[in-house]
Symmetry: D2
Subunit: 153 residues, 4 copies
């Protein structure tokens, strides 16, 4: 057990338990459409992501690769940038889909990005019928904003 | 001189010389507005970026920081993600502005991101009256998509 | 359940079950020493990482921050770079420690980096007595090299 | 001209003008050897980097790719991590070489990483006889640590 009293819910206030209704079919369709706009000339893995914010905004992103591979932006990078474009706030649900139309597991970086904006209770489409996976199950014991404060030296 | 016959214009076809007219005042205003939407709780440096594509789209982004500092997305990351959202294409001009309303130099990563989508002739607002800086002057002798092909082993 | 038949063990062959003996005290001491060499002028969170490879090499890294926050390298980035310096191979155990001497949870990016070089069975020091946490428990349902092949389109 | 009075030499004190003698042949040979240790199963572009610190240390790195392309570490990432391992300090010269044995241009991210640790006067092997390229010529008008202080809002 890492030295932290509670699981860090992220730096933003958590979404109200009574958030907007989650329409998974719409989210997955939006993610699929976003995958079709990916710029992936190097890996040929096209990924799209769509999310619902606590304010009810639909936000989305596509992966954008780079000749310097390490500068590649995943679809979830675009999604959190789009969240900022909508004025920010808290994510409550996301669907991430590859070009084949099926959900794809977010990479570790993107779990961390989602944690910053959705916290442990963010719901992630895992391809099964609802209820979807909690982010806490995909990134347990997450490093988070609280660590920045408590682990300084 | 690095071993490359020509400056790599990026992996996408270059924008036509007769692209859309560039309204720098509009770009800078959009970048300034984007800076106000930045999520920068750690550095407190708010940055916004706005760009014009060859198709005439206005695209934009804000920086989005993360408790794990290395996962921070600069405003230009959001901008190229927004370009994908608009269906992609070529960037012809960008303005990057800090929260104080003045242009700010893009970091090295972002010069590389811009190179992928705008190439050497992309114009970058440097705070002076037009003509703005060419990206070739901010990232000379760029590593680019051609290197991926010619430098394999 | 994401569309993948088995948990991906990473792109390298897994370490033999009969790997080198793991001396956690040595690993944690090496990580603590590495934390003291961190370059963290922005967050003031100093982190060190130490790992044991299947070949018996001790590898290590410190976090290295950057004025452009998103270019920050975590301690685990340094660790996998050091693994390459030692000729590569498979990680079997890692300890990650903050400047206060206690283990710290790896961020999502670093779980993914560790997955590439250690796979699901990599052991991660979580501050408890042995046995340590398996990486599969910190990054379940990981995106991995197999996805690059099976999710192309 | 971006709003900054002087070119930022980076956050560390600049190396003394009378630094250690630079043996470019040794640096390039070390970079070539490092390229042979790259982990580049996805791009097949093997890169090695070697640098000389003001203290006279030889530091090095190899690129380390990842199935999640955006988590790829360039050779220069490994180099600055190795600098930390040696106790840090200032870089005075670097050579970056691809698997074909010839110098390769650093990507934008890596120019920024080098700037943090070497500043504008860092010398970069560009494949020509000495004197090598100054980093100021590869990353002019760099964003740097001073911007973090002066551009807050």
């Amino acid at each position: 057990m890492y030295c932290r009293p509670v699981i860090d819910p992220g730096t933003k206030p958590p979404a109200s338990p009574a958030g907007p209704p989650i329409d998974w079919a719409t989210l997955r369709a939006a993610a699929t459409a976003a995958a079709a706009r990916a710029y992936a000339p190097y890996s040929h893995v096209h990924v799209g992501a769509a999310g619902l914010s606590a304010a009810g905004d639909l936000v989305e992103g596509s992966n954008v690769e780079n000749a310097s591979y390490g500068l590649t932006l995943c679809a979830e990078c675009g999604l959190v940038s789009d969240l900022a474009r909508h004025g920010g706030g808290r994510l409550v649900a996301v669907s991430i889909v590859a070009g084949d139309g099926d959900p794809v597991a977010p990479c570790g970086r993107c779990r961390q990005l989602l944690f910053e904006h959705g916290g442990a209770e963010l719901l992630v489409d895992d391809g099964t019928p609802a209820p979807a996976r909690r982010l806490a199950d995909l990134l347990p014991e997450a490093f988070g904003p609280t660590d920045l404060v408590t682990r300084r030296s």
